[in-house]
Amino acid sequence: MKKSITVIYFALFREKAGINQEVILTEVSSVADLFLELKYRHQLNEPQGHCKIAINDNLATWDAEINDGDTVLLFPPVAGG
């Protein structure tokens, strides 16, 4: 069954995707696989190791599971301070 996921893009990723957010239907199960799918979809080429993903406002590990209805935040390389 396909899952419905809300994806929110930040900073560089928002500019590259050309959108703030979108709802996608996907069959992937892990955060890492979702990241790959989104990279391909929007031609993002930042390496996974420099990026972060949050699910429902919590930072997630790359092997975390994606569930139907999740809101996923896609963070490009950060530069605080």
């Binding site: 390389p77 530069a79 605080g80």
Partner: protein, 141 residues
């Protein structure tokens, strides 16, 4: 940990750490520089995802309190448009003795720079702009 869109009032932040058992306050202020990687920077924009920036910032402060013998710590980060010389981030740590205060302050700012969802867009003199990626941060650490 607080993310704010107005000027950081360092004296007021510092007062939050006042403690009669404290002998030392180590502080760090990050200022907007007029240059970065050879470019002349005119201004800077911070995009911050506040909910996670604040919760992850609180987690970093908690880690510092566990790892170092300190009394208190606090951090404020700006969001939005900043000019050269503006204070972008302040970290303060109070402790009985200074070595712990310095070590914890460094731990906090190092982690603030690499773990919080904060992005920096620089606007250059030549009209270009660009997002600063984390490669420089990693080298600086």
């Amino acid at each position: 940990m607080k993310v704010i869109s107005t000027e950081i009032d360092i004296a007021s932040c510092s007062k939050l750490l006042v403690n009669s058992r404290a002998g030392a306050l180590a502080g760090f202020e990050g200022w907007v520089r007029n240059h970065n990687d050879g470019h002349n920077v005119l201004q800077l924009e911070y995009e911050v995802y506040n909910p996670i920036a604040e919760s992850e910032g609180d987690k970093i402060i908690q880690e510092a309190k566990t790892q170092y013998d300190i009394l208190d710590a606090y951090c404020v980060h700006r969001s939005g448009l900043l000019e050269i010389g503006d204070c972008a981030v302040w970290v303060g740590v109070s402790a009985a003795h200074r070595n712990e205060a310095f070590d914890a302050c460094r731990y906090i700012i190092n982690n603030i720079k690499t773990r919080l969802p904060i992005w920096k867009k620089e606007y250059y003199q030549n009209g270009d702009s660009g997002w600063v990626n984390c490669e420089r941060c990693a080298a600086e650490k």
